[in-house]
Symmetry: C2
């Protein structure tokens, strides 16, 4: 285990927040994280499903995926960004976006303990569809072998948030121009059953719970 | 200028596409990119506004932002991910997400030429709000100085797409369980004018154009 993670202030910004609750709320609201690692000196950024674990983020990959085979002990990061709006100002300079973003830095650790592997895989499924685990069949030993989970052990984390209207030059307020925010909305639709779903089987409750997370 | 960029196949996946048109369509549909760079051996991933330029991606930052001051000649990447759905299978193993993702790799180049800087800044604003440039006042020399643009010169790019229903084990089809896709929808709401917008000024046309991009 590492030391207690730092929830630290990001550099060069007035938009930085560093409390654990803010970081966790953003991680919980996100669906996909952008995971960074270095391979042959190059910065790699991969979208991955994830879940929060104790002092770590569990990341899901195939057991032969490059990030899983490379991740042992190497520096990793994950950024989760929730886009909330486009900020339309009266000058190009003050255009911006409203967003909530969390960044986690740490090291990779291959999850090999069978109990942690099961907990992690279930957490990743539950993160997308709360309660789904109880609706499906259990995992087989063969499937467990084919799945790779990397734990990003959290050493530091931070959040950045921009919200509210444009911050225009005072002199531009009298131009008679429209300034404001265009909301960006993310929502889940009704589940579309596949051809193997019996006609009398309703959309499962996990889907409704997932949809409720995004209802505003 | 670099050689002609490669639009190459990603490793270890049946979901890789590599044609230029697919990559461009994903970049055009995204609003925020996740930019990767290496600082002190650590992988950094930052959400940034962007636009496609000739053979490059223009990235917007403050002139003192770390990525702008560090980016000259260093390896950079950008990943844009569009989440389309949650794939609910009959086993945890086959749960997945439907998405379109483009990855661009290359090198950073600080944009210093005034003409390219103007073109890049306008393109970044237009990418979020098509036609906005004609609705606002021109940029001042002081603002131009305070803005940093990095060009990510494209050396290689690839796309990955997952679509369609869950791919379950044939033996699980008879379980009588619900399997299918939960659509993830991203949309823009009506623009919310700020307190400096005269009551008789309508939502600008650029906002309607941006909203139309996401209408399905």
């Amino acid at each position: 285990m590492t030391d207690q993670p730092r929830f630290n202030r990001a550099r060069n910004t007035k938009r930085a927040l560093y409390d654990e609750a803010t970081v966790h709320a953003i991680l919980d609201a996100g669906m996909v994280g952008h995971v960074g690692f270095v391979a042959e000196g190059r910065p790699m950024v991969m979208p991955m499903a994830y879940a929060r674990g104790p002092g770590c983020i569990w990341l899901h990959g195939a057991s032969k995926a490059r990030i899983v085979t490379l991740a042992r002990g190497m520096p990793l990061s994950m950024t989760v960004t929730l886009l909330d709006g486009i900020v339309a100002a009266r000058s190009g300079f003050h255009h911006s976006v409203n967003y909530r973003s969390a960044v986690v830095h740490g090291k990779g650790r291959a999850v090999t303990d069978p109990a942690e592997l099961d907990t992690a895989l279930q957490a990743i499924t539950e993160h997308l569809l709360p309660g789904r685990q109880a609706e499906i069949r259990p995992m087989t030993a063969q499937e467990r072998k084919a799945t790779g989970v990397v734990a990003l052990t959290i050493e530091a984390a931070s959040a950045k948030i921009r919200s509210g209207p444009p911050v225009d030059e005072a002199g531009d307020h009298g131009l008679g121009l429209w300034g404001g925010v265009v909301p960006v909305v993310t929502a889940l639709g009704r589940g579309i059953p596949d051809g193997h779903t019996p006609g009398d089987v309703a959309e499962p409750r996990s889907v409704g719970r997932a949809r409720a997370r995004f209802a505003t």
